[in-house]
């Protein structure tokens, strides 16, 4: 239409458009070639195992069957693993327990870590020493931490000794043999070990809050709490979401320390989803079923995290 009215002008615009397209196309092809090795690598590291897992999850395959996993189609059971899973009460209770541990540990780690980070923003005597001490739990090998807390929570162990000293009574709680206290002990170990990570990330966020904006708020009459709520927290939102996401994902997979402390027991009292998967894999050897469980959890966790991140982005854009 316009080309009839003003052919010259439009044709010039067309040329310019063509040129830019050509350049872009050439760049795209080159870019594709250059990233191809990396993409193949990602394919084999991430996508291939995932497809393999999906494939096995649709069969009854087990390594004891004497056939390779690629021949698992001989034991095809379509969605039986998934329907079994829906009816598996041990799976659901493990999932619920994992959620409970997460719902207590992550907020506790966040609040303690944030409190410590606030303390560490200002200078005080011995800050560097305390800072190093703060980070030690994170550097302890989880298995070692597991043994440490296993010892601490023995009925004749230091925890009971300290409680006895504090209360003046003879405290002899069998921490790891009682379903409730075992779960508490496991959570204490997780909080001890991972609060420093929270502290470290939140401190970085806190230091990054622009000081002059905090000062401006002070000069406008904002109290400490008002400044914290209206300036510091909003500025830290991104880093808080990152810290929480890391800990939610990690805590969901809680295994090593816990397994050494209780082995998931007494009974199934501390059996989280990872422990359950481990037991099904190593003791019952039903790999097709395990693949199904793992896949369901992967999908659930992915949805959870991407929801959290998209909500954060939406809030940021507003």
């Amino acid at each position: 239409m316009t080309s009839l009215a003003n052919p010259e002008k439009v044709s010039m615009a067309d040329v310019a458009l063509d040129d830019s397209l050509r350049a872009e196309d050439g760049g795209r092809r080159l870019g594709f070639l250059l990233t191809l090795p990396a993409q193949l690598l990602v394919l084999f590291i991430a996508v291939f195992p995932l497809l393999m897992q999906l494939y096995i999850s649709l069969t009854d395959w087990s390594p004891l069957d004497g056939i390779g996993w690629w021949q698992a189609y001989e034991l095809w059971n379509s969605f039986a693993n998934y329907t079994d899973l829906m009816a598996d009460s041990r799976f659901w209770s493990a999932l619920g327990r994992t959620a409970l541990v997460m719902a207590i540990c992550v907020p506790a780690e966040f609040l303690i870590g944030l409190g410590l980070a606030i303390l560490f923003v200002d200078d005080f005597v011995g800050k560097r020493v305390f800072y190093s001490i703060m980070l030690i739990p994170m550097m302890v090998v989880p298995a070692v931490a597991g043994y440490m807390f296993f010892m601490l929570f023995q009925s004749g162990g230091p925890v009971n000794d300290i409680l006895s000293g504090l209360t003046g009574m003879n405290v002899a709680i069998a921490w790891l043999s009682d379903p409730t206290t075992a779960l508490i002990a496991v959570m204490i170990a997780d909080i001890w070990q991972w609060t420093p990570l929270m502290f470290l990330i939140l401190l970085a966020g806190l230091v990054g809050v622009p000081e002059d904006q905090v000062r401006a708020a002070t000069l406008l009459g904002a109290s400490w709490w008002q400044r914290f709520r209206t300036i510091v927290l909003p500025k830290m939102k991104t880093i808080i979401v990152i810290a929480l996401a890391i800990r939610v994902i990690e805590n969901f997979k809680i295994f090593d320390t816990l397994y050494i402390m209780t082995g998931g027991g007494p009974g199934v009292a501390t059996e989280t989803i990872s422990v359950y998967i481990y037991k099904v894999t190593q003791q019952d050897l039903i790999w097709g079923y395990v693949a199904a469980i793992a896949l369901v959890i992967l999908v659930a966790l992915s949805i959870l995290v991407s929801l959290a991140i998209s909500r954060m982005n939406a809030a940021k854009g507003a």
Binding site: R215, A216, L219, L220, G221, A222, Q226, T230
Partner: protein, 364 residues
């Protein structure tokens, strides 16, 4: 509106003294500029007025009330930061409303006051915009509005124009002065740019190395500098300052400027002041703008070293390495490096300084 009185204010950081016994009275409703090169103690002074730092000695009085121990949020001080410190995670409206909300005012009153000040500062169309990507002049207005809305008695501005490009600075200067007239608040303005201080301030406090050098109106400071630092610092280029010796001649008291010859005779009042000062070693000062070309045979003759043509005017550098003179002429002045020029100094514009102490020698 509040008068500020700084009494014997001293600030030390460890062994370093940032501010040496400063005494300054800032009148109610006055626009006072603290002017000086970086590190002169002007920002330290400002931070102490705001309460961000505590004085090592001395007192700060607001309308006679000692501010020592009064938290910065309770001093009634509005502060405009060098980079404006706008809350970038809030929109324009929430920035303006911040101070009122922190005082827990009812949202209805907050809203009406925000709209009033937004109208006044022409921010109304921008109220819903995120503040992170606003242009500098809007940021400045927003920063001022955010402080002004809580009606502080005192406004402190810390080099608010230093991040702005030169062309825009002129616009912002005008705008700022206009705003101050409307708010009629006591304003203290820290700057190292004398143009800002000269154009906006009612009075200027010139500072150097933690010492208050001179306080006065822009013209007082420009015309009658109290000492050599102020004389050299104010004006672009600064005052010509030539070492010389008082000498008697048959036409009256003159200054012997060594290689440059003798000056024209001093005026009777200035001569009398110079005689009563005692010392013969003095510094002979005059503004480059007060120099004209003299008919040959008159004035002081000296070689032209360098000619700087800056468009509207031409700055000519004359004299010797030891006694360098700058003179400002019209842009078409017919001088070039290598020639000799005879210059005459406007008689009333000569200022003398004691060479030893650096203090100005004032006519009685």
């Amino acid at each position: 509106m509040t008068a500020i009185h700084l009494q014997n204010l001293v600030k030390r950081f460890g062994a370093f003294t940032a501010l040496k016994t400063m005494d300054l009275e800032i009148r109610d409703g006055e626009f006072m500029a603290l002017l000086g090169p970086s590190g002169c103690g002007k920002s330290t002074t400002m931070n102490m007025i705001a309460g961000m730092e505590n004085p090592s000695e001395g007192r700060i009085l607001f309308d006679g009330k000692d501010m020592n121990g009064v938290a910065m949020g309770r001093r009634g001080v509005g502060f405009v930061f060098q980079n404006y410190a706008i809350f970038t995670h809030m929109n324009v409206y929430d920035n303006l409303a911040y101070g009122l909300r922190m005082r827990r005012l009812p949202e209805g009153e907050v809203d009406s006051r925000v709209r009033k000040i937004a109208d006044f500062l022409q921010l109304s169309p921008l109220l819903k915009q995120p503040s992170a990507k606003l242009s500098v002049n809007i940021l400045q207005r927003l920063a001022i509005g955010r402080s002004a809305i809580v009606e502080p008695a005192i406004f402190l501005l810390d080099e608010p124009l230093s991040n702005v490009d030169a062309a825009f600075r002129a616009v912002m200067r005008t705008e700022l002065k206009h705003l101050q007239r409307q708010f009629r608040q006591t304003m203290v303005y820290v700057t190292h740019d004398q143009l800002e201080a000269m154009t906006m301030a009612d009075r200027i406090a010139v500072m150097d190395h933690g010492v208050l050098q001179q306080v006065g109106t822009p013209l007082e400071v420009y015309n009658n500098p109290d000492n050599l630092f102020v004389a050299g610092f104010i004006g672009a280029p600064g005052m010509n300052l030539l070492k010389g010796e008082l000498a008697d001649s048959d036409r009256g008291l003159v200054v012997d400027l060594a290689a440059l010859g003798r000056s024209a005779p001093l005026g009777p009042a200035l001569a009398a002041a110079a005689r009563s000062n005692g010392s013969r070693d003095i510094v002979y000062g005059f503004r480059p703008e007060r120099v004209s070309l003299a008919p040959s045979g008159e004035g002081m003759t000296m070689p032209v070293v360098f000619v700087e043509r800056i468009g509207a005017r031409t700055v000519v550098h004359l004299g010797t390495d030891a006694q360098r003179v700058k003179a400002v002429f019209d842009n078409d002045v017919a001088l070039e490096a290598g020639v000799s020029a005879a210059i005459a100094i406007e008689p009333g514009s000569v200022r003398l300084f004691d060479a030893a102490s650096g203090h100005g020698i004032r006519e009685a």
